[in-house]
Symmetry: C3
Subunit: 104 residues, 3 copies
């Protein structure tokens, strides 16, 4: 079990919850943590600001490609961020629970 976090952002709570539920139903992730933030970024030559929902998705590395493709398919943004961070260590209890949910 190699566990990963995948970070992505949504324009609002409605789209965040809808996409996360779909990822859970497809067993591509075991859990998501979602909270609002303020974003500042370059867009078409200007610095823009806005509220977003930032989401940490928790899963196993073998789900990565399917998860990335599902996010591209479901995501409301043209250019979403889909950033993978591999965990260096994870406690055995959570790791075993994750395996049971994802692989039955």
């Amino acid at each position: 079990m190699e566990a990963i976090f995948v970070y992505t952002t949504f324009p609002d709570w409605e789209s965040a919850r809808k996409v996360v539920r779909e990822l859970l139903e497809r067993k591509l992730v075991v859990c998501a943590n979602m909270r609002e933030h303020e974003a500042m970024y370059w867009w078409e030559g200007k610095i823009e600001e806005g509220r977003e929902i930032g989401v940490i998705l928790k899963t196993e590395v073998s789900k990565w490609k399917d998860l990335r493709e599902a996010l591209k398919e479901l995501h409301p943004y043209t250019v979403p961020i889909i950033a993978r961070i591999d965990l260096d260590k994870l406690n055995r209890e959570y790791s075993e629970w994750m395996a049971k949910v994802l692989f039955g």
Copy 2:
């Protein structure tokens, strides 16, 4: 000095603050950043939702095993997440301050 972030989640502010204070007093971490999020996850065959407190703990890698065991001992969840992310770089000023707090 190899610095690490350890991510965990609590059911409420009271338990988060209580456990974090204990970890600080035992000099297992130098700092914690805590904020609320909405969690969606599989639990006993159903997709559940709820508010949680997500916590980033900052420490040095030699504290990892003691920190993990302390979290298991103190944590209100049966299956908490205790996820370690090793920092790739950290500015020298913060690294030196961290060493002074943890190792005197």
Copy 3:
């Protein structure tokens, strides 16, 4: 393109927004995600608490040294945290957009 996240914290929204805008104008980062948290930490022999703004900065690894130095120059804290986490994977669309913003 090797993408990185850099995590730092500010004492208030005003300083966070001001410094982030400057980093964007200098093309040291493409995007920042900012949200409030509660911090607990050791400071001069005591455990302190307070509200802060935690910021994830998104950029390319070749910007790291300039970004770190700019943060030291602009940061209101004497000892800020400037923590770099290298992404293990990033979707091609975001990576290409990031390169276009940073390198024209």
